[in-house]
């Protein structure tokens, strides 16, 4: 696939159809892939990669790139296309300036996950059927994908591109892979257990802002947490309350807009399963207000800017009810 994409990118650059290419670039190590904008065939040849480490969601970068003038080619995975659509809906990306080429994705792993499984000296990776073959300093290692993929990919919502101008490879389908299983599990706990669980997770937060910076929905010109006038500005979480507040407010601000790409959890250096907060909102929205997938289209009204006269009352939560 990497070769096909490289050829496509060079061809479009050559013909003048696009001026820049947004893709992934190899880092110092095989697994530390970074998003990159390539301006020439030479740059592409030198650095462009697409492999099983390319988990980064590229859509957020288009907010800036699409406003620079000229046309940019963006390679988007199914996941990324949802974020792309959502940003189009919010008028953040200039659609005319982007040529979207959909690329397939069979789940993306990352260095952290592999290292945690004891894989050392990683030099490269490739897919062979249901397995990853990881090339290391100590020879090849084969690992089943289901063991090597992060939770967000194991419970992938869709392999279908919801938007593209061109598509490379085969189009996939929407999946029903039980992405709310963990939310259900947490909901089934009693409040004390849940409190303990989240304290255990959120108390590790170091407020590095990685989750915020990578999140395609968290693309405010100025974040309330950086704005002294907002009354909630904070640079570091000094207290358990602030650890909770940052994540509650962040989840609330992206509620109905979060496409569930899972980037927040991927980049968290403390491995906090942040996407479980967002998924809770998604699940509540689906059960209370009807199924809604942010980014599926560019016109529908988001659940929090919409209502019906017969909506559930908040007492469904506070006084029990069907979710008791």
């Amino acid at each position: 696939m990497q070769e096909v994409m490289l050829e496509k990118a060079k061809e479009l650059l050559q013909s003048g159809a696009v001026d820049r290419v947004l893709g992934w670039k190899a880092g110092e190590f095989a697994y530390d892939i970074t998003p990159c904008v390539f301006a020439s065939a030479q740059e592409l040849e030198a650095g462009f990669v697409y492999n099983d480490f390319c988990g980064n969601n590229l859509s957020k970068y288009l907010i800036k790139e699409s406003r620079k003038g000229g046309k940019v080619l963006a390679f988007l995975k199914p996941c990324d296309t949802y974020s792309f659509n959502q940003l189009i809906k919010e008028h953040r990306i200039v659609r005319e300036n982007v040529l979207v080429v959909g690329v397939p994705c069979q789940g993306m792993t990352d260095g952290e996950t592999l290292k945690a499984k004891g894989v050392k000296g990683i030099l490269g990776i490739k897919t062979e059927g249901e397995d990853f073959v990881i090339n290391t300093l100590y020879g090849d290692r084969t690992m089943a994908k289901k063991d090597a993929l992060p939770e967000r990919c194991l419970s992938c919502k869709s392999k279908k591109h919801v938007v593209y101008d061109e598509l490379l490879g085969q189009e996939g389908d929407k999946l029903d892979s039980g992405r709310f299983d963990l939310v259900n599990k947490l909901e089934a706990m009693d409040p004390e257990e849940r409190f303990a669980f989240w304290r255990g997770e959120l108390s590790r937060c170091i407020r590095c802002n990685a989750c915020r910076n990578v999140c395609p929905a968290c693309s405010c010109e100025k974040c309330v947490f950086d704005n002294d006038a907002s009354g909630v500005a904070q640079k570091a979480a000094a207290d358990s309350f602030e650890e909770n507040m940052f994540h509650i407010i962040r989840a609330f601000h992206v509620a109905g807009r979060c496409t569930d790409c899972g980037e927040c959890s991927r980049v968290c250096p403390q491995n906090i399963p942040l996407h479980l907060l967002n998924r809770k909102f998604i699940k509540d929205i689906n059960t209370l207000y009807g199924d809604y997938q942010a980014g599926e289209d560019t016109v529908s009204r988001a659940p929090l800017t919409n209502f019906t006269e017969g909506d559930a009352e908040p007492s469904i939560v506070t006084k029990g009810g069907k979710k008791a």
């Binding site: 406003r67 919010e90 008028h91 010109e221 100025k222 601000h253 807009r257 800017t305």
Partner: protein, 665 residues
């Protein structure tokens, strides 16, 4: 730092009996920024107000906190008092220590403690208050009435009568609306045309009224006092300034077989036509779908016979742009389509007609010249069956309407009565579920139909109508009171179809950002207290676009809407509520979340150039709030993730300061 004065009111013993007022003024005098603190028997009295005014001047106060009764009671009083000293009236905050403290609590210690906390919260808020100035916006002294039926006509006449200009936009070639098609009106039985056509003529002759017939509203921009409207004036292919309405052309046109809308397709008209003799404006219109000349350039007969030379086949649609101060919606209603009700054989037999068709069949200007004849064979009908509630009070999805159409009981009684009066040889049955006749002289009218005219009113519904080959209609119905099924051989069946808002209402509501209910009726600002205003400022409602209505109700509402419009147009300037939303454009993402939740359409977007931190410039889409339209609810402030949107007078920081003060004990 603000210089704040605190004024604690005793309210006689209303407050002082349960709250230690001197302890409150003492405690609050130590709060940061407080330079003066006192208490007095009646702050709202003249002496009390003077005490406040003097203190503002003497201590150069920049903020005032009054601990007294509810702000709903005296906020305006104190604001006015403070404003008279030159201090901005929005620098006043009230701590409600009467209704929400002294009157609630019996324990003096607890009540005093709470009063102090409420006072602190008000002080904390005043620290963050900023002077607010109510904006002013000019008023264009002209009104637009959308819809030229009886509702629109009456509203326009009343507004014009007060001396203001009014434009009527009507999509049909003539004004008059549904009432022109009606024969007689209940409960007095005067003829509709006799009472309507003089009003139509009045409209045409009134120099303040401008009629844009055969026109539609295309775009509405602006806000109360300052609407900018684009009107599309459709091409009639006739120069209205030259046409004399002689009708020569409509006699000569060779296209004779076009269903006549005015008579609901019961007879035919030509391709060039005047809807009816009393049309206003009385000019001919060419139907481009059927005119041979327009379709393939062959004919031109009408141009040949027109002595005034009014025919213009090259005429084009014209866009008119006008400014208005107020807009009245009077888009009216239509009977529902009956094709979902095949059990009544409406589409199978021409002798099953809707009530409006029945009106035409009995109208002297109708297709039969006013003689009631069966549409199928032109014979005199002997047995007539009227069915009420066809599609009304029907909760079947996609079939009928859940509401009562209100007018059917009365017009059915009228039809039945008139039929019996004119043709005493007929048998007339009315099938009803309930007879609803609340209205002046309405029940008497219905009883006359039963008692004086011998109309058979049967409690029950018709289940099935079957056309027989001999031309009779077999009606199978329930007589619930007798407990039997009835079988009637009828000559005609008349269906009282439910009424629904005109199809043009929904897109119009979007243009006006006026809200609608699930049935597409316009919603009023308050169901009881503001029944002719839309929640959107400057938009008023007249007639059946707001809900089913008969003519008397429509005319009453039309007059009420006109008086509201006159009240608005009388003003030279509109004073706006200064507590409105405001977008900090530097932080705005342009994501449109706020726009979606704004019930007034007060938020618009513009592309603006900004200097970025890296000294480049970038064009960003940002929100701006129209302060004349914003009502200050604050829905947008919460929808905004970046906090760019805030509400003046109730800002995020002010409310949080209150929260802090309350929680700090």
């Amino acid at each position: 730092m603000q210089r704040i004065g605190v004024f604690v009111c005793w309210c006689g013993s209303n407050i002082a009996a349960t709250v230690d007022v001197s302890a409150v003024s003492e405690a609050l005098s130590h709060e940061p920024g407080v330079v003066f603190s006192t208490n007095y028997q009646y702050m709202c009295s003249e002496a009390g107000q003077n005490l406040i005014k003097d203190a503002v001047r003497e201590h150069k106060l920049t903020g005032v906190v009054i601990c007294s009764c509810s702000p709903r009671m005296h906020e305006m009083t104190f604001r006015k008092a403070v404003a008279s000293t030159g201090l901005n009236p929005y620098m006043v905050e009230i701590a409600n220590i009467r209704e929400q403290c002294s009157w609630i609590h019996k324990d003096k210690a607890a009540a005093t403690e709470k009063a102090i906390i409420l006072g602190r919260a008000a002080i904390a808020k005043v620290h963050l208050n900023a002077p607010l100035t109510a904006g002013q916006s000019p008023v264009t002294k002209r009104a637009l009435v959308i819809g030229g039926g009886i509702a629109g006509i009456q509203t326009a006449l009343d507004i014009a009568d007060a001396g203001f200009e009014v434009d009527i936009v009507e999509k049909q070639p003539t004004i008059g609306g549904k009432m022109t098609q009606i024969d007689k009106t209940f409960p007095t039985l005067d003829c509709a045309a006799c009472i309507l056509t003089p009003k139509m003529v009045d409209c045409a002759q009134n120099e303040k009224i401008n009629i844009f017939a055969y026109s539609e509203v295309e775009e509405v921009k602006g806000f109360v006092g300052n609407f900018h409207v684009k009107i599309n004036k459709k091409a009639r292919y006739v120069d209205t300034t030259k046409c004399t309405g002689c009708g020569e052309c409509t006699e000569k046109c060779p296209m004779k077989k076009i269903p006549n809308e005015f008579n609901l397709g019961l007879d035919n008209r030509r391709a060039i036509y005047i809807p009816f003799a009393q049309a206003v404006p009385k000019v001919a219109t060419i139907d481009p779908d059927h005119c041979n000349m327009l379709k393939n350039g062959k004919c031109g007969l009408c141009a040949k016979v027109c002595s005034a030379g009014a025919i213009d086949y090259k005429q084009k649609d014209e866009t008119i742009e006008r400014e208005y101060g107020a807009i009245v919606v009077a888009t009216g209603y239509n009977p529902i389509k009956l094709d979902q009700y095949d059990e009544f054989a409406y589409s199978q037999s021409p002798d099953v007609v809707s009530s409006l068709e029945f009106e035409r069949l009995t109208n002297a200007a109708g297709p039969t010249g006013g003689t009631l004849l069966r549409p199928s064979d032109g014979k005199h009908p002997h047995t007539l069956v009227f069915v009420q509630c066809v599609g009304s009070r029907c909760s079947q999805e996609g079939k009928g309407k859940s509401y009562c159409s209100k007018i059917c009981c009365m017009y059915t009684a009228k039809h039945a009565m008139l039929t019996r009066e004119k043709y005493p040889d007929t048998e007339v049955y009315v099938f009803y579920i309930d007879v609803r006749s609340p209205g002046k002289n309405y029940d008497e009218f219905y009883r006359r139909a039963v008692e004086d005219y011998g109309v058979h009113y049967v409690k029950g519904m018709v289940g099935k109508v079957t056309p027989r080959s001999d031309g009779k209609l077999m009606v199978q119905a329930s007589d619930l009171l007798a407990g039997e099924q009835m079988h009637i051989e009828a000559d005609m069946v008349v269906l009282a179809a439910a009424i629904e808002p005109d199809k043009s209402a929904r897109p119009l509501a979007t243009m006006l950002t006026a809200s609608m209910d699930t049935n597409d009726f316009f919603t009023e600002a308050h169901a009881k207290l503001r029944p002719v205003e839309s929640p959107t400022a400057g938009i008023f409602l007249s007639g059946a676009c707001q809900g089913p209505k008969d003519i008397p109700d429509t005319v009453a509402q039309a007059g009420a809407a006109a008086s509201k419009v006159i009240g608005l147009l009388c003003k030279d300037q509109l004073t706006c509520n200064p507590c409105v939303a405001h977008a900090d454009q530097l932080m705005c993402n342009g994501c449109s979340s706020c726009e979606k939740v704004c019930p007034y359409g007060a938020i618009t977007y513009e592309d603006k150039e900004f200097r970025m931190p890296d000294r480049t410039t970038a064009i960003r889409r940002v929100a701006s709030v129209n302060e004349a339209v914003c009502q200050g609810c604050g829905a947008c402030t919460v929808a905004c993730p970046s906090g760019a949107m805030d509400l003046k007078g109730f800002s995020n920081s002010q409310i949080m300061a209150e929260v802090d003060a309350i929680c700090k004990m």
